[in-house]
């Protein structure tokens, strides 16, 4: 599939460009308040206190990439022929260690044999899926279950 991407493309805008640049470097950046240490995604003014103009006290910082499944589903129906090869797949809402929620696909999983509710609460870690060779290339963050020890 080198050089081809037939699904929807990310929309890189003024508020998320640095986030997408971080992914290209295999970093999961989150929006961080320099004053109080709170983390956000997507970009927001800090909720806990007054802000400097244009939230100047905040910036993008690398996060751990780890979290837990907050909610989950398994797509079993092909809505779109471009996704026919992906179905079935797990699409999860992850609560990152730092606090924010972010959604993505859960990979390295036998989605056909999995029930969505059973995924909730399980620890996950980010994985990076490179598509830099397509026009306006990008890297997608996805997640996989952290394998239990022992």
């Amino acid at each position: 599939m080198t050089g081809e991407w037939t699904k929807a493309r990310p929309n890189v805008d003024l508020d998320n460009k640095e986030f997408w640049d971080g992914l290209a470097e295999h970093q999961l950046l989150l929006w961080h308040c320099g004053e109080c240490g709170a983390w956000y995604w997507p970009k927001a003014y800090c909720n806990r206190h007054d802000n400097q103009p244009f939230a100047a006290q905040m910036g993008w910082r690398p996060a751990s990439g780890r979290g837990r499944v907050f909610s989950a589903n398994i797509h079993r129906w092909v809505f779109d022929p471009h996704w026919a090869d992906d179905v079935p797949y797990a699409y999860v809402l992850v609560e990152l260690e730092e606090g924010p929620l972010i959604s993505s696909m859960l990979v390295d999983l036998d989605a056909a044999a999995t029930e969505a509710v059973s995924l909730i609460g399980r620890p996950v870690e980010v994985v990076y899926e490179d598509h830099l060779d397509v026009e306006e290339g990008f890297v997608l963050p996805k997640f996989r279950l952290v394998q239990a020890e022992g």
């Binding site: 037939t6 589903n73 129906w77 471009h82 996704w83 809402l93 509710v117 997608l140």
Partner: protein
């Protein structure tokens, strides 16, 4: 809060497949029907609001020109309003201001949907295999699995199941009871198609944990209604239906920040405002048209409005409370789940019919106070930053 009360004095409703008719044409026709229903002429309409389901709340509509031009309505003002499935509720809220301030005598609120025809046209044209466009600015998820409303709405069902032990069979009980109501409504897309919980369980899993029967219909349709003041409505041709109270809530108020928006909806403030204005409590409602894009939405509202405790919605539904003969009739026309999906207009139209006494076989005896709810406007996924509206209608004082 003003003392002016609004009344609905005209109603136009179009349902069923509408292949070949533009939304503009459908809206114009619904408007024409509403004017006829009210016994008015188009010259009486001096204000217009168009209901357009702008996703999220920030998109501009994708088409221009308006039913006011097509139908030749001599209005002083016209503007579109809407947020996701919150259409009729916002139309009423907008019209209130103009009527209260005497800037119009009769405000016509109208809109249409052609989701079914567009889906069928896309199938006819075939999938050409062209790469998709960029996802919308400010949205998230389309490249990584977010494809349809069910792609994120299903998280609400899953989270509620994990938190409270709600089961798919309990969601099925909701689908079955609303289907029973649809089977009393010849306009319902699922009219004549009775289902059981076993049928629900056997229906294909679309996005686990949602089965096919957990998901709303795909429909064409149009709705128009005419609002005026209570006073002016005294001379109306049809029995006026009054707007007794309205309230709005938004998930960005607190639920989103507290990560509760996958088990709760922004009902509390909306309900308290609306019930306060209407001077009612929950037990005064004769029926409730609960926004039902998916079964879990109904379950959440049963809890959040207070018919049962949080977490008990499944058991409450299983008790048969919401179907024919139940303690709180819900979606007596079949709702979005079994009748047709035109956002909150589906529930609005059914509420008006129950109050006018024109609901046919499914008419509730002595219906005097009915609410319809509205939901919509995911700002981004996984934001689920949704509006909730409570509108209480009644046969008035």
């Amino acid at each position: 809060m003003g003392n002016t009360r609004l009344a609905i004095v005209g109603l136009g409703s179009i349902t069923g497949p509408q292949l070949g008719r533009s939304r503009r044409m459908l809206t114009s026709e619904a408007a024409r029907l509403a004017i006829e229903d009210a016994g008015l002429s188009r010259q009486d309409i001096d204000g217009a609001v168009e209901m357009r389901a702008a996703p999220g709340g920030g998109d501009r509509s994708t088409f221009v020109d308006a039913f006011t031009r097509m139908l030749n309505l001599p209005v002083n003002f016209y503007f579109p309003i809407g947020r996701g499935g919150a259409l009729a509720s916002l139309g009423i809220a907008a019209a209130y201001s103009f009527l209260e301030r005497g800037m119009a005598n009769y405000v016509l609120v109208a809109g249409a949907t052609d989701t079914r025809s567009r889906a069928e046209a896309a199938k006819l044209l075939g999938h050409r295999g062209r790469p998709h466009d960029r996802e919308k600015e400010g949205y998230w998820g389309s490249p990584v699995g977010e494809l349809r409303a069910v792609s994120h709405h299903s998280w609400m069902a899953a989270r509620h199941m994990a938190t409270y032990g709600t089961t798919s069979r309990q969601l099925g009980a909701i689908a079955v009871q609303i289907r029973e109501w649809a089977c009393k409504n010849p306009e319902a897309q699922m009219y004549g198609k009775h289902i059981t919980v076993e049928d629900h369980q056997a229906s294909p899993v679309i996005v686990d944990p949602y089965h096919l029967f957990d998901v709303a219909q795909v429909s064409d349709g149009a709705c128009a209604f005419i609002l005026t003041t209570e006073e002016r409505a005294r001379d109306a041709k049809q029995k006026p239906v009054q707007v007794l109270g309205q309230g709005f809530g938004d998930v960005t108020g607190s639920l989103w920040w507290e990560k509760l928006n996958y088990t709760h909806m922004a009902v509390e403030k909306a309900r308290d405002l609306a019930f306060g204005q209407a001077g009612i409590s929950l037990s005064d409602l004769d029926a409730a048209m609960l926004y039902d894009c998916f079964t879990a939405e109904v379950l959440f509202q049963l809890e959040d409005y207070g018919w049962c405790e949080k977490g008990e919605g499944g058991a409450f539904a299983e008790s048969g409370a919401i179907g024919p003969g139940g303690s709180i009739p819900v979606n007596t026309g079949g709702g979005l789940l079994s009748a047709y999906h035109f956002d909150d207009c589906t529930g609005f139209v059914e509420a008006v019919r129950q109050l006018r006494g024109t609901a046919g076989e499914r008419q509730l005896a002595d219906a005097a106070t009915v609410m319809f709810t509205s939901h919509g406007g995911e700002l981004l996924s996984p934001g689920m930053c949704s509006i909730h509206a409570t509108t209480v209608l009644g046969t008035g004082r």
